[in-house]
């Protein structure tokens, strides 16, 4: 009797526990579903308002919430400087893994990390990728007046302009100077894309690279510049007559540590503009965000606006794929890292070790 009673008690307890746990699971599920309702996601952007990274953030900020359960609000905070270092350091140190912090970064943030240095206080491999937007490889524009000087070592050096000396496309020109003997030097410090466009037009700089096809076409219409090559594995649609950098290098393409160093610097170009959540963001939240990114990429209005901003060669990548790529392009051997530091020093670019 006692045993039967105990067994029945146990049965009741088991059923109660089962029902309670089912209720809890349902509550958790319900919680996830309603988590974002009435909440605001803060998207930190690693550039000034108006550039490509900012545009990517603003398009995503408009369309992503449509596909997140609970349809949260979004706000954008721009934190430019140091090729994304300032924002990366800030996000890594301060972002809470509560699903309400996202970070819109660009390939420069990954390049900075590979370059290393005491001021790099973040690890992009630990962030959790939501997805990425790639606009196609950079197109290198050169002033027609300066181009003949590129192959003449006795002439005045051709000036390559950049904001921080670490953009992925800068790597191509460093390797061109090293292995093709191009007569180029590097000036960095321009606050952003706008100032660089102006500097190219005024002749303050002679070479500048951008992925923005519309911008490049505007320059071509003005007739004072031409495209040297494109920083892409295969030729971009619409620029089929422009050689890729590897084609330009031809037989001079180096091997070993040099090429590994080149890939570590230029590789993040493939990822371009990517959105991440801080490390520790719950799996269920990440699943929601990644799923929303995939759905957003299929939205017709999103496609239209993305084409307005990035031209017709843009494409998206899932969070999972982006995560793998971030790890790939930021893994570098010590030998290649040393080569990278040496070659950057040689061409007067910041190495991250000390103030230049």
């Amino acid at each position: 009797m006692n045993l039967r009673l105990r067994l029945s008690h146990l049965g009741v307890a088991f059923i109660a526990t089962f029902l309670w746990s089912m209720d809890s699971v349902d509550a958790i599920a319900q919680g996830n579903k309603n988590f974002y309702q009435g909440k605001t996601i803060k998207i930190l952007v690693s550039s000034n308002p108006g550039g490509g990274t900012d545009a990517a953030a603003r398009v995503v900020a408009r369309f992503l919430p449509k596909y997140i359960p609970g349809n949260p609000q979004t706000i954008i905070q721009n934190m430019p400087g140091g090729g994304g270092t300032i924002a990366n350091n800030y996000f890594y140190a301060n972002a809470k893994p509560d699903g309400l912090w996202l970070f819109q970064d660009s390939s420069s943030g990954l390049g900075n990390f590979s370059r290393g240095g005491s001021h790099i206080k973040y690890d992009p491999r630990e962030n959790l990728a939501v997805g990425s937007i790639t606009r196609g490889g950079s197109l290198m524009m050169v002033s027609k007046a300066a181009k003949p000087r590129l192959m003449d070592p006795k002439a005045k050096q051709v000036v390559v302009g950049d904001s921080d000396g670490i953009r992925t496309w800068v790597s191509t020109l460093v390797w061109a100077a090293e292995y093709l003997g191009w007569n180029a030097r590097f000036v960095y410090g321009y606050p952003g894309t706008q100032e660089l466009q102006l500097a190219l037009r005024t002749g303050e700089i002679d070479i500048w690279g951008t992925s923005n096809a519309k911008l490049v076409r505007d320059f071509m219409k003005e007739g004072k510049h031409e495209i040297l090559f494109q920083h892409e594995e295969v030729r971009r649609p619409g620029f089929k007559d422009v050689p890729t950098f590897v084609e330009v290098l031809g037989e001079k393409k180096p091997k070993g540590a040099s090429w590994e160093a080149y890939l570590a610097w230029s590789g993040p170009n493939e990822i371009d503009k990517f959105l991440v959540a801080p490390r520790g963001t719950p799996d269920a939240t990440m699943a929601n965000l990644r799923q929303a990114f995939v759905q957003m990429a299929k939205d017709e209005e999103f496609k239209r606006q993305a084409t307005n901003f990035f031209g017709d060669a843009w494409r998206t990548r899932t969070g999972e794929k982006t995560q793998v790529m971030i790890r790939e392009v930021t893994t570098i051997s010590q030998e290649a890292q040393d080569f990278l530091t040496k070659i950057r020093k040689k061409y007067g670019l910041p190495t991250g070790e000390k103030r230049q």
């Binding site: 108006g50 398009v59 350091n89 001021h119 000396g165 706008q194 100032e195 505007d218 606006q305």
Partner: protein, 496 residues
């Protein structure tokens, strides 16, 4: 071109566009009235809403409407409570607030709005006239020329230091030092941030301005136990202020031209125009002994320039699709989203949109000034409120202004630090304006010196533009000295 001008005007004068423009003017004026929020923040908030709009003219009417008038209503807090309503109204405090203390708030406000109207109309007119030469105009300036311009701006420390030139110089240097705090924009290397992430972004100009001007005035009012205005009557100041602008019409037009000039140089920033115009006024006008004590010309010049500057910032935007400042950068994002292609097409196939922008700049200013004028008399009466009412009110404005930009509690802490600094400076006769000017120009000066040197070596000193600007700089510094020897007073009579 005439056809495009008419088409642009017609598109803006539809009831829907006018309604959106009026909404923009209302939002822009409200934001200008509230210190610290600023036009770029408002535009950033508006972006998600306008990106879903289908009609480009609606977007132009709303956003350009907001952008055009932000500096008009910002004169209210600058003049009445010594708190800058926005980055473009800092210099207005120097003479506007002393006028309010003298019981001339209505005169200062009406002069300010009338000057804003002139600046707001002269600006688009100059923009219109310069359409054919927009591109060469923008391309005439490189990094070395920008550096000399920032140096020229810093030379104004001399005229803002009153009878304490050494103190003014030290305050200016302190301002430049404050501007270096944070991570170096070129390399991301930390400077004077002591490992504190809050300081990585640098010290906000708005916090410095609110702290060194707003709070010390509150302490002064509380210690005097009086209202802001010494005389409790508005008198005929309202009409007199309007007449002041017409009496100084040439100064107003010159200041508007300075605003346009600063606006079209992408890289100088929005907070410089009013200082340039103010310094130009002191350097070129006669009888300058009352500047810093409440000279209406010290209100007219910055207010005309800061409204004209908005039109100027559209010059690089229209010529190349390059924004002249943060506000125009955000407007460009909205334009791109709704299918307007900023860049060369704005002067060819999309000329009607260009004219819609120019018309909006002019019409929005007229609406904003009418709107602000209607409130001059009732709002000016706040100068008569007893100190126990007005001091808490100002403090609320100052603290909300400091907190609203980032919602960060550290901002409030830093505000208190600068408030203490401002109080000590005020009490011991140290000029505060040079410190602010150092913060405004410090970062830009460093950047353009770096670019000039790394690009050109020392050759940049021989560029024709640099030589011309250096000559103008020297002339502007030496002219007041020469004028002073002839008997005039060449600088602000009191440290401000």
């Amino acid at each position: 071109m005439l056809e495009a001008a008419i088409e642009g005007l017609q598109s803006i004068l539809t009831p829907h566009s006018l309604a959106m423009m009026s909404l923009g003017v209302f939002i822009g004026s409200l934001v200008g009235f509230l210190p610290g929020i600023g036009g770029p923040t408002t535009l950033a908030i508006m972006l998600p809403f306008v990106m879903v709009m289908k009609d480009p003219v609606t977007v132009i009417a709303l956003l350009v409407g907001i952008d055009a008038v932000g500096n008009t209503a910002s004169a209210f807090p600058s003049i009445l409570i010594s708190v800058p309503g926005g980055a473009g109204s800092q210099a207005t405090i120097l003479d506007g607030y002393p006028m309010a203390k003298r019981g001339e708030a209505a005169r200062a406000l009406s002069a300010s709005f009338m000057a804003s109207l002139v600046g707001g109309i002269v600006g688009p007119l100059i923009l219109l006239a310069s359409l054919p030469i927009l591109r060469p105009l923008v391309l005439a300036f490189g990094s070395p020329e920008f550096f000399v311009l920032t140096l020229w701006g810093l030379a104004m420390v001399g005229v803002l230091s009153g009878n304490a030139p050494v103190k003014g110089l030290i305050a200016g240097i302190l301002g430049v030092f404050i501007a270096t705090v944070g991570l170096d924009m070129k390399s991301g290397i930390e400077r004077f941030a002591f490992g504190e992430p809050y300081l990585w972004e640098g010290i906000s100009l708005i916090l410095v301005a609110l702290g060194i001007f707003g709070v010390p005035e509150c302490i002064d009012l509380a210690s005097r136990k009086s209202s802001i205005a010494e005389r409790h009557e508005l008198g005929s100041g309202f009409k007199q202020g309007i007449l002041d602008v017409f009496r100084n019409l040439w100064l107003t037009v010159r200041s508007s031209a300075i605003g346009i000039w600063v606006g079209f140089l992408p890289g100088l920033g929005s907070s410089v125009a009013d200082w340039f115009a103010y310094a130009h006024t002191i350097q070129t006008e006669k009888n300058t002994e009352n500047f810093g004590k409440g000279d209406v010309r010290g209100v007219i010049a910055p207010e005309a320039s800061n409204n004209a500057k908005e039109a100027g910032s559209y010059i690089p935007t229209l010529a190349f699709g390059i924004p002249g400042g943060t506000s125009t950068a955000l407007i460009l994002v909205a334009f791109t989203a709704v299918g307007i292609n900023p860049g060369p097409e704005m002067l060819t196939t999309q000329l009607n949109f260009t004219f819609a922008i120019i018309w909006t700049l002019a019409i929005a200013n007229i609406i904003a000034v009418a709107f602000c004028m209607a409130f001059v008399k009732p709002i000016a009466r706040c100068c008569f409120l007893p100190f126990y009412t007005i001091v808490p009110l100002i403090l609320v404005f100052v603290f909300i202004g400091a907190f609203a930009a980032n919602f960060n509690y550290y901002d409030l802490l830093l505000l208190m630090v600068f408030s203490a600094l401002g109080f000590i400076m005020r009490r011991h006769g140290w000029p505060r304006a040079p410190l602010l000017l150092g913060v405004v120009l410090g970062t830009k000066m460093e950047l353009y010196l770096w670019l000039s040197y790394t690009r050109y070596g020392l050759e940049w000193l021989l560029r024709p533009g640099v030589v011309i600007l250096f000559i103008l700089l020297l002339a502007s510094v030496l002219y007041p000295v020469w004028q002073g020897r002839r008997g005039g007073v060449s600088r602000v009579a009191e440290a401000v």
